[in-house]
């Protein structure tokens, strides 16, 4: 591959600086002893310490985690089944097109429309059944609704890569449909299911708009907390919290990179 000219290199460094400048500011400000951040008041980890005692923060973090875990569990199962159903059954043309459209709908819909649709759905269901008050359960329902598509798309592409040969061989060797699923398809699909679940988990943790619209007073998640806090006034504790979140992201991304690099090498071998 050819070498990059000075323009490309310079511009790229510029873009990286542009992307990281704000993030670095947050990290630096989180260590500033001066509350207002207008001047440098000395290096301190106090703000981080105060976080640990901040009940609201801890609860928000817990909510985010619980929400992500619950919704990922449900959506992974439903999404995998959906992918298997779409990919392996000979549907008619119209049914296939309809399912495709429905599958892609969450991916192309802007967040806010998704959120509005959910609010309306919950409102209608509330009027009908008296249930579906906004809170953690509605957030889970909302998250699952968009996660299913992502999981299904990831699992489906892995299914396509595996191909039908192995399933036919399994049938040829007297396996029942159930045995074929458990002994051949699911083991080979494993990495795809895991990737889909990881994607769903991340999308849920990161989500703001949908959570914001479907949350109740008791079910604040971390992004909502930060958003509300910023509106009240930016404080160093928020910087500390944000820095921790960023560190978590960095860790997760690095791990995923390592994993994909390794599996890439294995597949190539």
């Amino acid at each position: 591959m050819r070498k990059a000219g000075w323009f490309v290199t310079g511009a790229s460094w510029g873009v990286f600086a542009f992307l990281y400048l704000p993030l670095l500011c947050v990290a630096i400000f989180s260590l500033n002893a001066s509350r207002s951040g207008l001047t440098w008041g000395g290096f301190t980890l106090d703000w981080y310490r105060r976080l640990l005692h901040n009940d609201l923060v801890l609860r928000a973090a817990a909510n985010s985690l619980i929400l992500a875990l619950a919704s990922t569990a449900i959506s992974t199962v439903l999404g995998t089944l959906l992918a298997l159903g779409i990919q392996r059954i000979p549907w008619g043309k119209r049914a296939s097109k309809g399912m495709e459209a429905l599958l892609n709908l969450p991916v192309v819909t802007p967040d806010i429309i998704f959120a509005v649709a959910l609010v309306i759905a919950f409102g209608a269901l509330r009027a009908l059944t008296g249930l579906f008050q906004l809170g953690m359960p509605t957030m889970v329902v909302g998250h699952v609704a968009f996660q299913i598509s992502f999981v299904a798309l990831v699992v489906r592409s892995r299914l396509e890569a595996i191909g039908m040969d192995l399933e036919e061989a399994s049938f040829d060797l007297y396996a029942s449909y159930g045995r074929m699923l458990t002994s051949v398809v699911l083991p080979l699909l494993g990495p795809g299911i895991f990737a889909g679940a990881a994607l769903a988990f991340t999308l849920s943790l990161d989500d703001f708009v949908i959570s914001f619209f479907t949350s109740g007073p008791d079910s604040i998640t971390l992004p909502i907390f930060i958003y509300a806090a910023v509106h009240r006034g930016v404080t160093p504790e928020i910087h500390a919290l944000s820095t921790l979140v960023m560190l978590g992201t960095i860790a997760a991304v690095s791990i995923m990179q390592k994993l994909t690099a390794r599996s890439g090498a294995e597949a190539g071998a």
Binding site: R2, K3, A4, F7, V8, S12, V15, F16, F18, L19, L21, P22, L23, C25, F29, G37, L38, L78, G79, L81, L82, G85, I86, R88, I89, P90, W91, M99, L103, P106, V108, T109, P110, D111, I112, I113, V116, A117, L118, V119, I120, A121, G142, A145, F146, T202, D206, F208, V209, L222, Y227, V230, V234, S242, V245, M246, I250, V253, Q257, A261
Partner: protein, 291 residues
């Protein structure tokens, strides 16, 4: 095993997922169209009386006569999304080429560097710009000291901050698919064009650019559509004056409690989104066929 039994079993697999998405997304989206033509009752509940009130209001007619405010918001949202996307594409080009020319050992590192902002929460990434742009805080003061901007210049909250926030937010969404395309470029085409006396500019336009179109197409779809509906960024960085469609909608479902009008605005956004998707889809296919 007839196709029919297979399909019955397939239904078992498919129905839960489809039903979930249908019930909580597809059907409500259709319901939006219905609610958009309802009315708001005195206490903020929905009155199921068909009326064009909301449509008229969206077009600008309200109690005080006609004002273009709402239409401006729609137009502005589209404009901001479009121009942000263009800037993202322009800035992503050198980045994509830079990444594609890194040796494989360092490439993973650089990719990780790009993925970190991509996966960092949008709320955090956006409010972080407040720290950079706030005129009293050190960074802006430093820039003013160096003469880049006049001192006290209110870069935040402002329109400029929203532009910056948008571009910063969506850059990775364009850079990553563009990188995928750039990595696959067949350099033989470039060499052929040089062999046929093309200068650098012509080589770029005829041999390189067309090969990157698939990546641009994906990046634009991933950026333009969410950007039109964005409300976090204008909300945090734009201040009260700079409203986009997302803010308008959020208001109806929040403080204003006017679901029908909110539904109408959402409907407008949905139509804009569909239009954009179709335009990009058709454009992308036509260009891909030619490339």
């Amino acid at each position: 095993m007839s196709p029919r039994t297979l399909r019955l079993r397939g239904l078992l697999f498919v129905v839960p997922g489809i039903a979930w998405v249908g019930a909580f997304l597809a059907v409500p989206c259709l319901a939006l169209a219905v609610v958009a033509f309802a009315q708001r009752g005195g206490f903020g509940e929905i009155e199921w009386k068909f009326s064009f009130e909301n449509l008229k209001r969206l077009a600008g007619w309200d109690l005080f006569g006609w004002s273009p405010d709402n239409l401006w918001i729609l137009a502005r949202s589209f404009w901001v999304a479009l121009v942000s996307t263009v800037f993202c594409v322009l800035l992503s080009y050198p980045l994509a080429f830079f990444l594609a020319t890194r040796p494989s050992k360092t490439r993973t590192v650089w990719m990780t560097m790009l993925l970190i902002p991509f996966w960092t929460n949008l709320v955090i990434r956006t409010y972080a710009w407040i720290l950079v742009l706030s005129p009293n805080l050190p960074v802006a003061r430093l820039l003013a000291f160096l003469g880049f901007i006049p001192p006290g210049f209110p870069a935040y909250p402002s329109q400029i901050a929203v532009w910056i926030g948008m571009v910063a937010a969506f850059l990775p969404f364009v850079a990553l698919p563009l990188y995928t395309s750039v990595e696959k470029i067949d350099w033989a085409l470039v060499e052929a064009s040089q062999d046929l006396y093309a200068d650098r500019w012509r080589s770029f336009w005829t041999a390189i650019f067309p090969q990157t179109l698939p990546g641009i197409s994906v990046g634009v779809t991933l950026t333009l559509v969410p950007a039109m509906g964005m409300f976090v960024i204008p909300d945090m960085l734009g201040g009260a004056r700079f409203m986009l469609v997302g803010n308008l909608i959020e208001e109806q479902f929040g403080t204003a409690r006017d679901w029908p009008f909110g539904a109408m605005v959402s409907l407008a956004l949905m139509i804009l989104t569909l239009g954009t998707l179709m335009a990009v889809g058709r454009n992308g296919k036509a260009k891909e066929a030619r490339a």
